[in-house]
Amino acid sequence: MSKNTPKKSIIIIGNGISGITAARHIRKQSDHTITIISEETPYFFSRTALMYVYMGHMRFEHTQPYENDFWEKNKINLRSERVTQVVNKKQILEFESGATLAYDILIIASGSKPNKLGWPGQDLKAVQGLYHKKDLDTLESWSPTIQSATLVGGGLIGIELAEMLHSRGKKVHFLVRESSFWNKVLPPEESEMINQHIRAHGIDLQLETELKAIESNEEGRAKVVITHKGDRIESQWVGLTVGVTPNIDFLKNSDLALGRGVKVNSYLETNLPNIYAIGDCAEQMEPVSGRRSIEAVWYTGRMMGETLAQTVVGKKTKYAPGHWFNSAKFFDIEYQTYGNVSIEPNPEEEHHLFWKHSNKNQSIRLSFNPTTLELLGCISMGIRLRHSIFDQWLTDKEPMDRVIQYFNQANFDPEFYPTYEKELSLEWELSKAKLIL
């Protein structure tokens, strides 16, 4: 058992999902000394839940998945420090406090930071992103003096902020550069469904609109947002949500090979021995086919943590995530996806079966190969689907006829919910007929 191997000192920078997952699985399988460094919060919390704290659904402590004594019980040391330098020749970390700490193995899991694209006024007061706990605290401190807010960037954090501010009675202007919300990921029908839903909540959604500049008041606080169309929007607060970038500035003077993130191979190894990188900050040099080199997603962060833990305890393991899956919630509409669904499919390789409820915000899209009819992926809106069944179908390259026949097995909606399998099956028969013609 690997518990008998010599004890090493393992340092993890970052207490987000990837670092924490790595720590937990290393602890389960070894007696190594584990120390987690974070400047953000004393304990691990679920970053994706910050929005619910602002909305009053939860208190911050509810976002912490483990009780505070969990870490001591499991002999995982937590240190509140800000890393300023990784000195690999000496295998030590230097902290802002002046202290240093030696490591045998270093895991970098420092996450992301919000993007800023060089707009005039982007560094004014009450202009910010939402990623860290302190971003939430900052927003909370401005909140009492916000009547009207503008969000720039139509992604997941943008729509979360729209929901958050709306729940506290703020007027929300939502500037989206694209012609429809999140349409680089969502196909047109789903994207349009969300456009309408955003507006139904009373949000001022402005599509094909970009930020030009932010003007300030005499105290240096955001006052007016100017769009590229020349519109002026009164805003006491501006949210910049145009994506995130790996949080790796503190590594610039180290010997680590950096690109947009910390460069890693498929074993999550960096160019330096005994240093690994996982989660949002890791940039895959050879990404798994069909996937991006940086995936700032909760699930992939967790999986990288699980994988690296194996390597660290002596079972060298390649990072090999299974079928792609993801989920989100846009105001009241839940979204789930499994496998691959292209927004502009090549008609030779990928066809779509699309069913939408006549008056509810519900839809299912199945992508399949038009020749073999095998299932390629799925997007559902307002409908819950069973992960295990889809994972199995994708692995088995299940043909569409069987997918449709057994679709009720994938139904994960609560009991008594109206079913849609019959309509979906009708839709499939129709599109099959077209396919043959």
Partner: protein
């Protein structure tokens, strides 16, 4: 456009305030009877009830009707009522005071056991005469208010969760069982059978939740009430030993706790705003496990002791002797213990051990009763005194005062979680032998914590969901709110085959490890 919207907002705000004023005026009007004896109790009852009901319905309409369907937990932790603020404490103290008055000082409410009642109790006379033919008691007053609360807050709950059909159907069920089985049918049966002695006529209120079901006086009254009494006795026993185990096997304890039970009905409707206040600490869970087993052992031993005494002094009313009774109980316990011992291993071994320990203690107690007891004294303690302590400690102080009075402080299911012996029995079966579970949807959990926060039973649902494990906990009442509040579609209440119900895997679905 902005001004129109703000005008609408102001209008909604004034209508909200107006409906609140209307409802609370009705409540104050009703309360005024505590200080000024009413001239026309019918008028006062109708007027105050109408004001309370219409005021609250209008308020609920303004709160939930004006927004899109979906989860409505905005500001729950900012509100002084729902986040243990000043209003929460004030309501807690008021409710506790009401329960103390009902149980121990009914005269404060105007109840007069020797003649005509006055005050608040008197106001309910017209309704009581209409339903059961007698003047109102403090218990009739309590039953009416209890049922009204479940119906009113049931409507509110349905409005709040109108997008969720499981919640709608479940809430209609608890409203129906409270109104018909707990309130109307018993009252009307009482009116139709005025000569029969009192016994509990709520068909669904089975032992041990109704802890006096097997008491000497209650058994005698049932046996002296002809076919009606015999029916209630037979049905009560069938519910305990046949119907309940079958339903719990197929659907889990939710068939009772969150679909039928009256305590559950109040917790799910009026108690809903406080569900998030239950503690999720592991230490509290440990305490809960001890507590429910202790309560279970106590109620079982007490009931067996009381039956022993009953059979000792009324041997003619039964077709079996006290020795045969004890023999039967011993055999029953031994069979259950043997089943547990040989059958439950692996993931369930720890729970089975707890159950074996409890049953063992009951067994020893039962044998000691036979060996060391006379007619009335059980192990040198008077069995009726034992029963009386239970009635005071558990029946009144725990289920009423602490259970409901502390809703705004400890959450809505304190009684169900720590004190209810019925929930304990159903829970043990749910954990060991039931098709029910909450399925975790592969690897989709993001550990946000909404499920744990809104679990009224204090289950740390997330701890299972983030590991990709199903939730199979004895305390789960199957309310389905964890599934409703989950933003990623991770949780589903299901009845399915017993195999792999408890699935502890090392990694959630998604990775290829």
């Amino acid at each position: 456009m902005g001004t129109l919207k703000s005008k609408i907002n102001i209008m909604i705000l004034t209508q909200k305030k107006g409906s609140l004023i209307l409802g609370s005026s009705g409540f104050l009007l009703l309360l005024s009877s505590l200080f000024f004896s009413p001239q026309d109790e019918l008028l006062l009852l109708v007027a105050s009830m109408l004001m309370m009901v219409s005021g609250s319905l209008l308020y609920f309409k303004k709160v939930y009707g004006s927004s899109l369907a979906g989860i409505k937990n905005d500001g729950v932790w900012f509100n002084a009522l729902t986040a243990k603020g000043i209003w929460g404490w004030a309501l807690g103290i008021a409710l506790t005071g009401f329960y103390v008055a009902i149980y121990w000082f009914p005269e404060v409410l105007g109840f007069n056991p020797n003649g005509t009642s006055t005050g608040l109790v008197q106001v309910f006379d017209p309704l009581s005469y209409a339903l059961n033919g007698n003047a109102a008691t403090q218990w009739f007053l309590y039953g009416t208010l209890y049922t009204t609360a479940i119906l009113l807050f049931g409507v509110k709950f349905i409005w709040k969760y109108r997008h969720n059909r499981y919640q709608i159907i479940r809430t209609i069920s608890v409203m129906f069982f409270q109104l018909c089985f707990a309130f109307l049918i018993p009252e009307i049966l009482g009116k139709l059978n005025p000569e029969t002695p009192y016994f509990a006529k709520d068909l669904k209120n089975m032992w041990p939740l109704n802890y006096y079901f097997l008491d000497q006086w209650h058994l005698k009254n049932m046996l002296n009430s002809g076919n009606l009494g015999l029916f209630f006795l037979t049905f009560g026993l069938a519910l305990m030993f046949i119907i309940s185990p079958i339903l719990t096997y197929f659907y889990g304890k939710r068939w009772y706790c969150s679909w039928v039970c009256g305590c559950g009905a109040l917790a799910e409707t009026a108690g809903d705003p406080f569900r998030q206040l239950s503690s999720k600490k592991i230490s509290v869970w440990k305490f809960e496990r001890w507590m429910i087993h202790v309560v279970l052992v106590f109620i079982s031993v007490t009931t067996i002791a009381v039956l022993w005494s009953f059979l000792s002094s009324n041997s003619t009313m039964s077709w079996f002797s006290r020795e045969q009774f004890i023999g039967g109980i011993v055999i029953f316990i031994l069979v259950v213990m043997a089943l547990l011992f040989f059958w439950k291993t692996g993931a369930l071994s720890k729970d089975a051990k707890y159950s074996l320990l409890s049953l063992g203690i009951i067994l020893i107690a039962v044998l000691s009763i036979q060996a060391f007891s006379g007619e009335k004294n059980i192990l040198f303690i008077n069995s009726y005194k034992l029963q009386k302590w239970y009635g005071f400690g558990i029946g009144a102080a725990f289920s009423g005062v602490l259970g409901v009075g502390f809703y705004p402080i400890l959450g809505s299911r304190v009684w169900c979680r720590f004190g209810c012996p019925m929930a304990a029995i159903l829970g043990l079966q749910q954990r060991l032998l039931s098709r029910f579970r909450i399925t975790t949807n592969g690897g989709q959990c993001i550990s946000c914590g909404n499920c744990s926060t809104y679990c009224e039973m204090g289950i740390d649902v997330r701890a299972y969901a983030q590991r990709g494990e199903n939730i199979v906990r004895s305390s789960c009442v199957g309310c389905g709110i964890c599934s409703a509040v989950c933003p990623r579609g991770v949780l589903k209440l299901e009845n399915d085959r017993l195999e792999n119900r408890i699935n502890s895997e090392n990694y959630p679905l998604g990775n290829t490890l």
